[in-house]
């Protein structure tokens, strides 16, 4: 079986991409969260937060089979 990632987008990122949840294969080109972002072709990573398995991480975070990877635009709550 192929290794997969669960990718989540929120708010303006979701609108830009046109989807909110997607299964993606874990390949040699998506070893890290930053590489996965580049693969999505959604623009600059500047000001985007990344969470893997509900924990905030940096773009260098190495991904594993089954990881939930979320890309989060700047927070505007409160």
């Amino acid at each position: 079986m192929i290794d997969v990632l669960q990718v989540l987008l929120f708010a303006s990122l979701r609108d830009r991409a046109g989807w909110s949840v997607r299964q993606m294969p874990l390949t040699a080109r998506t070893n890290t969260a930053g590489e996965l972002w580049a693969e999505l072709q959604l623009g600059s990573l500047l000001a985007i937060n990344i969470a893997v398995n509900q924990q905030l991480v940096g773009p260098e975070r190495v991904l594993c089979n089954g990881d939930e990877v979320a890309f989060l635009p700047p927070f505007t709550g409160g």
Binding site: L8, F10, A11, S12, D15, L46, A47, N49, A51, Q54, Q55, L56, G58, A70, L72, P73, P74, F75, T76, G77, G78
Partner: protein, 159 residues
């Protein structure tokens, strides 16, 4: 990048602190004063902040509604970790955070932050710090609706 990463990392916290923090994301409107009545407490000092939806958009148009989205799970955890860290830093005793999501109308309560402490300085400063952390460090997103058009906010309101 303005966003703070630090407080979402797991921190060692004692059980007492964990139980002293109550965080809830609500889909439905709530009455802040009734919630505070129920939260109770007899601390020497309570500080409370309450935020409501403005009647106007960031650029001054009449607002129809404000939509609030969050990343369930991570969001609650970010606020809890922040609250535990700040209670310890300010020597405060307990914190309550209630935050709305969904579609809100002008005048509705978005956020309630309350802190119990033994000193007025600790209560007021911890409440203000927790509010800032929550605004900049928890995954919530606001969309302003105006003339049937929704616009995601790119940044938060100034303090």
């Amino acid at each position: 990048m303005e966003t703070k990463w630090h407080f979402c990392h797991p921190l060692p916290v004692v059980e007492r602190m964990a139980s002293a923090v109550q965080v809830e994301i609500r889909q439905q409107p709530f009455s802040p004063w009734a919630e505070l009545e129920q939260w109770g407490g007899d601390a020497a000092a309570d500080a409370v902040f309450l935020g409501r939806v403005r009647g106007q958009t960031m650029d001054g148009q009449t607002l129809q509604a404000l939509e609030l989205e969050h990343y369930a799970g991570l969001c609650e955890q970010c606020i809890k970790t922040s609250a535990q860290t700040l209670l310890s830093e300010y020597e405060a005793d307990a914190a309550l955070v209630l935050h709305r999501v969904g579609r809100l109308l002008p005048g509705e309560v978005i956020v309630l932050v309350a802190v119990h402490a033994d000193r007025r300085g600790a209560a007021l400063n911890c409440c203000a710090a927790l509010l800032e952390d929550l605004k900049h460090g928890a995954p919530f997103w606001k969309r302003e609706w105006c003339d049937g058009q929704g616009t995601w906010l790119a940044s938060n309101t100034p303090r």
